[in-house]
C-alpha cells in the first residue's frame, strides 16, 4: 500500500534506424551515442534548455566527457527506450547517466555516463546555470537521490589486473 513505485525518467524512445546499422548487422557504436545525445536533448527540454530556452538564456550544454558501456548487440528496427538518472549537479556542471533498454522486455543494452557543462554561447565560456534551470535540476537531483547508483557509473577502462 505504501510501496513507492519508482518510474524511470524516459528521455527518448524510438527504433533502430537502418542507417545506424553496420556491416555486422548491429547498431554501430557511434549511433548508440547518437541515441544517447537525443536523450540528453530530452533532458535539456525538461530543464528549460529547449530551443526557446536556449534563445532566452543564451546558454547551451557542451559535453565534456562521455563513457559508453556496450552490454548487448542491438539489431535494426528494435524498439528502444532511454532512461536517465541525474547523478549530480553543481553550479555549472551536470552529471547524467543514461541506460538504453529494449522496450519489449526492459533488457539493458548499453549505458552512457556524461559530464556536461553549461555554456554561455556569447563567449563561448562556461557559466552558471540560469536560476530557473538550476531549480529544475535541483528537483531532478532530489527525485533521483533514492535511486541506486548504477554499477557502471564512475568506472574507468582497464584490463583486469592492471588497474592502478
Amino acid at each position: 500500500m505504501t510501496e513507492q513505485r519508482v518510474e524511470p525518467l524516459v528521455t527518448w524512445r524510438g527504433k533502430v534506424a537502418p542507417e545506424w546499422v553496420d556491416y555486422n548487422g548491429h547498431l554501430r557504436d557511434a549511433y548508440y551515442l547518437l541515441v544517447f545525445s537525443f536523450a540528453t536533448d530530452g533532458v535539456m527540454d525538461l530543464i528549460g534548455l529547449d530551443a526557446p530556452g536556449r534563445a532566452a538564456t543564451g546558454h547551451t550544454l557542451y559535453t565534456l566527457e562521455t563513457h559508453l558501456n556496450y552490454l548487448q548487440e542491438v539489431k535494426e528496427a528494435v524498439a528502444i527506450v532511454v532512461h536517465t538518472q541525474v547523478l549530480g549537479v553543481d553550479t555549472k556542471r551536470l552529471h547524467l547517466f543514461h541506460t538504453l533498454v529494449r522496450q519489449a522486455d526492459g533488457l539493458g543494452l548499453a549505458t552512457n555516463e556524461q559530464m556536461l557543462c553549461n555554456i554561455d554561447t556569447a563567449g563561448p565560456r562556461s557559466a552558471p546555470f540560469a536560476p530557473a534551470v538550476a531549480d529544475r535540476l535541483a528537483s531532478l537531483v532530489e527525485a533521483h537521490r533514492p535511486w541506486p547508483r548504477p554499477a557502471q557509473a564512475g568506472c574507468s577502462i582497464a584490463l583486469p589486473g592492471t588497474r592502478a
Binding site: D29, Y31, S37, G88, I157, L159
Partner: protein, 187 residues
C-alpha cells in the same frame, strides 16, 4: 530460393570492402599509428556548425577500422572465421570543437592487450594547427559472432597485436587514459 544476400546496412567506413594489408613483420611500426586523416563533413556538423559528439566516435571508429585492416581484420576475416572485434567500452574526452571542413589527424596507441582484448587510445588533432580536439579510449573484445561470446585471437593475429604493443610500450601514457567521470568538488 535465392542466394543469401550480404546484409544491407547503412553505415559504411571509408575503407569498407577494401582488403586488409599484408603484414610485413620486418616493417617498422609507427608509434603511435597514424592511419586516418579525414576532413569534417557537412553531415557531421550540428546547427552550431560544430561536429556533433556522436561523429567524434564515428571518426574514432573509422580509425579503428584502418587499424583492423592493418592487422588483418576485414570482411573476409569476419565471414570466413566468423570472428570480429566488438567494442565493450568507450570513454571520450571533448577538448575543443571541430568545424566544417577542418582537417583532422587521428593517432592510435595500443595501451594494453591480452589474448582476446585490446585497450586502444585514439587522439584527434586539428590537421594544421596540431591542437588536440578529443581523445577516445576503448576496450575491444575478439568475439565468436555465432556464439556471441569472446574468444582468443588466432595466434597470427595475436602476434601482430603483441608486436604493436611492444612498439607502443615506450610511448608516454596519455593523461586522459584510465579516467573516470565525476564532479570533483573543491573542498
Amino acid at each position: 530460393m535465392s542466394e543469401p544476400k550480404p546484409q544491407a546496412h547503412g553505415v559504411r567506413t571509408p575503407l569498407e570492402g577494401t582488403p586488409a594489408k599484408l603484414w610485413d613483420p620486418q616493417a617498422p611500426i609507427e608509434a603511435p599509428l597514424c592511419l586516418h586523416r579525414p576532413a569534417v563533413l557537412a553531415d557531421w556538423v550540428d546547427y552550431n556548425g560544430h561536429m556533433s559528439e556522436s561523429c567524434f566516435l564515428l571518426v574514432f571508429g573509422d580509425s579503428s577500422d584502418a587499424f583492423f585492416r592493418l592487422i588483418g581484420i576485414d570482411e573476409r576475416y569476419r565471414d570466413v572465421g566468423g570472428h570480429s572485434f566488438y567494442t565493450v567500452q568507450t570513454l571520450i574526452h571533448h577538448i575543443r570543437e571541430a568545424a566544417l571542413g577542418d582537417p583532422l589527424r587521428l593517432t592510435l596507441q595500443l595501451l594494453d592487450a591480452d589474448d582476446r582484448r585490446m585497450h586502444l587510445f585514439h587522439a584527434m588533432f586539428h590537421g594544421e594547427t596540431g591542437a588536440l580536439l578529443a581523445t577516445g579510449e576503448q576496450m575491444l573484445t575478439h568475439v565468436d559472432m555465432a556464439l556471441g561470446r569472446s574468444c582468443p585471437m588466432p595466434a597470427e593475429l595475436h602476434a601482430k597485436v603483441q608486436a604493436i604493443l611492444a612498439a607502443h610500450a615506450l610511448l608516454p601514457r596519455p593523461t586522459q587514459a584510465g579516467a573516470s567521470i565525476g564532479i570533483r568538488r573543491r573542498t
